[in-house]
Each structure stands twice: as C-alpha cells, then as structure tokens.
C-alpha cells in the first residue's frame, strides 16, 4: 500500500498540532457529545457526527473534544447533540440534521451563542 499515509506523516502532524495548541491560549475545553444509541443511529446520528467532524477539518478548529454517548432518553428528539463550552452549562439540541449541526458549530461552538431554536429540555 504505497499511497497510504505512514506513521512518519503522523509524527509531523502531531508536532504541528502541539505547536498550534501551545500558541493558543487554552480557554477551557469545548465538548460536543453525539447520541449514538440505536434510535440515534437510525435517525441519522452518524451523518450528524460526520458533519461536525467535517466542520472541524474545514475550519481548522483546535481544542474540541467530540465523543459519543449511548441512549440519552429523548428518543423522539434524536439525533441529539450536547455542547458544553469550558465551565459553561451543557446545552442539549434535538433533531440535529447535518445542516443544523453546521449551524450549531458556527454559532455556538465557534460564536459562543446558543442556537435557541433547536434546544430541547433534557
């Protein structure tokens, strides 16, 4: 497999990533959680997660943690995405399509203001 990337590439990527992280003032961690229970997956959670990851790549966003969780208990609201910025309160969004996910990334995760139209009470 000649074209597949090597671990040497990764070493360089790691060093650059570390530099970028140090250059920034780490202002608390941003965390995004996507519900990946059976209902979430059936409702399109994988596409929602994909949109979030694409946004991170496209906009070179560092210091964001993305992870999955199981069933959140809001089946009719899947796909569910939860966002917390630093010490701030966790905000739960429902029926998050890839498009809405990109809006949440732009306005909330980057811009800092909650996208009220899609917030659900958890």
């Amino acid at each position: 497999m000649d074209k597949v990337k090597s671990l040497e590439d990764l070493k360089r990527i790691r060093e650059e990533a570390l530099k970028k992280r140090q250059a920034k003032n780490v202002s608390g961690q941003k965390e995004i959680v996507v519900g990946m229970g059976t209902v979430g997956i059936a409702a399109g959670a994988r596409q929602t997660l994909k949109a979030i990851l694409e946004y991170i790549e496209e906009h070179n966003l560092t210091d964001i943690v993305v992870r999955q969780t199981g069933n959140i208990g809001l089946d009719s609201m899947e796909p569910i995405v939860q966002v917390s910025l630093g010490e701030g309160e966790k905000v739960t969004y429902g029926k998050v399509t890839p498009e809405i996910a990109r809006q949440i990334m732009a306005e909330h995760v980057v811009g800092g203001s909650v996208v009220k139209a899609f917030v659900v009470q958890s």
């Binding site: 990527i13 990851l53 790549e57 999955q68």
Partner: protein
C-alpha cells in the same frame, strides 16, 4: 437502518455500553463463495444465555429488567431473508461475539454502506477503546489497528483537525485499496 455499516455501528455501540476495552470489527467479502460475513468481537461484560435470548428476540419473555433494542432482531431477520443468519456467542466476564452472514449477491441484501464513516465515528467517539478494523475482499485485506496511531499521538486528541484528516484519509484509502463494494 438501510446500511449494514450502520448495523455494525449499532452493534459496536452495544460493545461500548458493555464496557469493552478491545473491539474488533471484521468484514469479509468472498465473491467466489458468494458470501458476505461480518463480526463484532468484544471483551465487554458479556451476557448470560437468558440475556442473549432476549437480545435476539425481545418478545420471548415478559421480564423487563433491562431494556433491549430492536437492532439485532431486525438484522437477524434481514440476514435470514438472504440465505444467511446471525449468531451471538457470549459469556459473562469474557465478552460477546456477534457474527452475521449474507448471501453476497442476494437481491434483498441491504448495501454495506460507508464502512469508513462507521469506523471513523467509533474511533473518534470512543477513543478509550482499542479498535481493530479488519476488512478482507477475496485476497486483498486492510487491517486498521489504532494502537500504533494512538501511541504516536501520545495524548494529542484524534479530533485535532490535522489528525482527524490523517485518520479519515487513512481509513478511506485503505478501504479503497481493497475495492470493497459498498453499494
């Protein structure tokens, strides 16, 4: 769910819920034998025979001590409709292996779908798990083991954009090279 890759994601999510530390996903496409085989192997907390029976058919017992989903019964029915089947091998404290097989060319077989997206979702979403993705198409194989990558990263998260791009492209290229038919 209209993609086998989404079912794999769903089964692997069960493995994560069962606190597995090591999860291996195998996909084998054997064109000569006309079979498509998939397995999810975990070392999670496992299930006793009664629980296995309920996971396969949630309606066999009225006991409702634990909620079980419909993901596995639906996948089993889909496999059986395509001259295949689904088996669960599990033991408490040891782990669970779920194997599912289809006739590759069966007209009703649902498409494999995007393995790359499923693998990336698992890798990013549950970085504490040691993941192995093992895909074989006839003689060609692609094995992705996340351990050397995580060792090299040494604490730098997979969600750093450059790392994310590396891992995503690595998975996509690897799958492309074995010519897996995702349709």
């Amino acid at each position: 769910m209209r993609e086998l890759a989404l079912h794999l994601l769903d089964i692997a999510e069960n493995s994560i819920s069962a606190q597995a530390s090591n999860i291996t996903i195998q996909v084998r496409e054997d064109r000569a034998a006309d079979r498509l085989f998939m397995a999810v192997i975990d070392d999670g907390k496992g299930m006793d025979p009664e629980m296995v029976a309920r996971v396969i058919d949630p309606f066999v017992t009225s006991r409702t001590t634990r909620k079980v989903g419909l993901g596995i019964p639906l996948l089993k029915a889909a496999a059986e409709a395509c001259n295949g089947g689904l088996t669960i091998t599990s033991a408490p404290g040891v782990g669970t292996t779920i194997e599912v097989e289809f006739q590759l060319s069966h007209i009703d077989r649902m498409p494999l779908g995007s393995l790359a997206e499923t693998f990336l979702s698992l890798l990013i979403g549950s970085p504490h798990v040691h993941w192995v993705f093992d895909v074989q198409v006839d003689q060609d194989g692609f094995v992705f083991d996340d351990q050397p990558i995580k060792q090299e990263l040494d604490g730098v998260p997979l969600t750093e954009p450059d790392v994310l791009r590396f891992v995503r492209e690595y998975l996509e290229e690897g799958l492309r090279q074995v010519h897996i038919n995702q349709a």
